[in-house]
Amino acid sequence: MAGAQAWQQVLEGDSIDRFFAHFVLDDAQRGKILRDYPSADLSHLPSSKADVLKDLHDIWQRDGFLTPAETQAALIEKYLPGADERLTRFIRDTELSRNKPETVTGYLSKEHAYLATALAHLYAQQTGMPMTMVEVDFSNMGGTNDYFRQKLASEKAVLPLDIPQREAEVLTDLAVRVLSAGMTADIAAMYPDARIVPIRTGGDELRILITGVSEPAEQLRLSDTLHANIEKRVAAMGLQDHPHLKAPEDPRRAGFGAALAVQDMHQISNPGTLIQELDARITEMKNQLGMMRLGMIDREAVAAEAEGKLRFGLIRMPLGLSADDVIDLEIAKAQKNAEKAAHALRDMNPEYNPELPQGVDGFKNYAAQTMAQLGRLAMAVAVLPQILDTDKLGGPFRPMGIRPSDSLERRYVARALEHFDQEGIALSPAALRFLKLSVRGLAPEDPSAQVMMPVGMVRMIDNAAADAQDFRAQVTVHHSDVDAALRTAGLKSMQQVMPQAMAVSVHNLAGLNSALGHHNADIVLRHIAHEVIGGAIHAAGVPRQARSSFAIAHHGGGNFSVLLPAGGTDAQGRSWFASQALIHKARGEIKERIGQLNKSPIAKFLSQNGGYVDQDVYQYLEEKNLNTFADIRDPKERTYVFGDDIVKGRVNGIHAIVVGAAVSYDPQMPGTGGGVFIGNLRTRADAMMEQYRGAVLHQLYKQGALDGDHTPVRPFQAAFNSYAIGNHAGAAFILGGADAKKYVQPQETAAADDRRQDKPKGPGGRA
């Protein structure tokens, strides 16, 4: 097998390619190790990805399907025969600690999503054993937050605005947890021998992989049972009727809920479009469930189902009746059942049934009781080795040999190596390789953007804040190299050298997903992360070097954050320092690169970057006039009010807002820390993006350039703004508008500006 092309017929196949590559030791690598360690035994290590596949097949035969962390642990164990038991236990515990459930749903977190999916599809293809994927999408989480906020306000006799958003979100999360735990418990009850691997793949999306459910009739039974239980639990939580955030007038979309599609993994004809197909089935299911809650049926769907069942003998045709008669009977039966179902659901719903416990307390009690009854899905989770169980890897806790600019992965690896050194456990070349592979997983990657997960960024910001003083102390002041680097950074002294962070909000990821499908949208997302943002930072003066010099994280959708350490050296040993001037340059580069992306032909871009492009895709792009990324349509029509002007429209194309800030806070102070810091920065970027969208449409409106369906007739070039956060994370002030020339704010004026300008301004300085 050579390259990602080999896995094109596997869902998320490129993650298999990357996963297998970690284990392969090619001839050049073998030669290098043998030069350094002539007696090393490398005979048991795989030479190709085909070797890894064969070994994986053996593991599946022995253990059945495994989670990604268990799979990696099993392969490493196989490749380290006879290793010190303390080492193998350390690696196994490190791996299995990654099975730790995500806090809201209790499922595996997103970092495992693509690899778990790819492994499941490969398992189905290689073993021929049953494997089913259940794709789940929650409904109306935003509207449910609003509902809880109003409910809490009404019970406390205050205005909804007086209820912190988080207080409402916690209740929505609880409802999500009840449904999530309910689904896995239902599946476990139906298929006690099946392996169930549930994953939270997104904010409102889940995926459950099951080793079983091979026949269509079984799949239908599973789908019906899960949906029926979801409906019962939603009713019992009193969450059937509040308006949908995006469609408040449509009663079929009211309330909270979840719909799902059951997919046999042996029946995937096109991995490139499967997720779109499942999303479509879920959309349709949500419509039908919404109707059922109202006691209505979709007659056409019932007729089609009856026709299918008749065709394949799943229902019998009584003597003397025609097919049409049977279909009419099925419709009548379905209508009767829908009415009964609506009635039954209302009986379970405290909003309709006064005998049931009422209010937010009633909801909480129901949730607690249900969770206690459901129990937990058995998942092999290990406790992380104590030496690694820390976020503190900077300042006084920085491991030996680690520089202030070093990555999170490198810090964890150094900490592990310190441990083995102290324990006196010698590591063979293979042991070292796999120990590093395992420990690096503690800085998990977002599989869609292939950059760090937010949790890693939070740790890195704390470490960078803790390391800044050490970094400044290590630099030789008044050395000519240092002076030159300070001048380049626009700084007057070493005291001004600080780590810098950016939040980048990219508009229209939803449009990309909608127009190109999730696989191709991921290709663009990775380009934005690595080439637009990462490339811009290098172009702004941060050198490319072997040891990581900055970190990028993906926070979902089009939201990214970036951390630049206070500084470092390039390959020639020359110093560089992070500064607002550097951020400003990076911002300009991002603007340039987003502009280039908008001008890029979509088909050419995708084919050059490993996207899914065949003749049908070319034809589709042509038919829809999707030539360049500037043509990507904003799926949402937006409304803004500017004085007497009511402006409606869509902001097509890709746009970005960059917000920058010096990382400057005392990690010991309450209410500070990487999480608060990056949260504030992201909130600013989101607010700026919203103002930017309004400004784009207002300008087009004033120019008379909004066409009939309120769509800009040409893409608007991105404008950029920047904020800096002062000496504490809670305060922000503006450094410059869209065309501001003056961007470097002396530190001493920050506090004064902080007090003067506590409200953000929009592009061009608009309030």
Binding site: E215, P216, L220, R221, S223, D224, H227, A228, E231, K232, A259, A261, V262, Q263, D264, Q267, S269, N270, T273, Q276, E277, D279, A280, R281, I282, T283, E284, M285, N287, Q288, L289, M292, I297, D298, A301, A304, E305, G308, R311, F312, L314, K333, A334, K336, N337, A338, K340, A341, A344, D347, N513, S514, L516, G517, H519, D616, V617, Q619, Y620, L621
Partner: protein, 60 residues
């Protein structure tokens, strides 16, 4: 004719998806795809079975 138990998807559905390309389906297309799957006896969106389970509960 492709049977409900076959691991091969019916040609009609494969063609339907190929025509759409890589993008997300519109609501109308989602509906059309679902009706196609139902007519071929494949697992698809249907609330009829869900309602039957809930109605049965109502009886008890």
């Amino acid at each position: 004719m492709t049977s409900a138990g076959s691991k091969q998807l019916p040609e009609e559905i494969v063609e339907f998806m190929a025509k759409i390309g890589p993008r997300s389906l519109t609501d109308e297309e989602a509906r059309a795809l679902n009706l196609l799957r139902l007519k071929h006896g494949l697992p698809a969106a249907s609330a009829a079975g869900v309602a039957a389970i809930l109605a049965d509960k109502d009886k008890g």
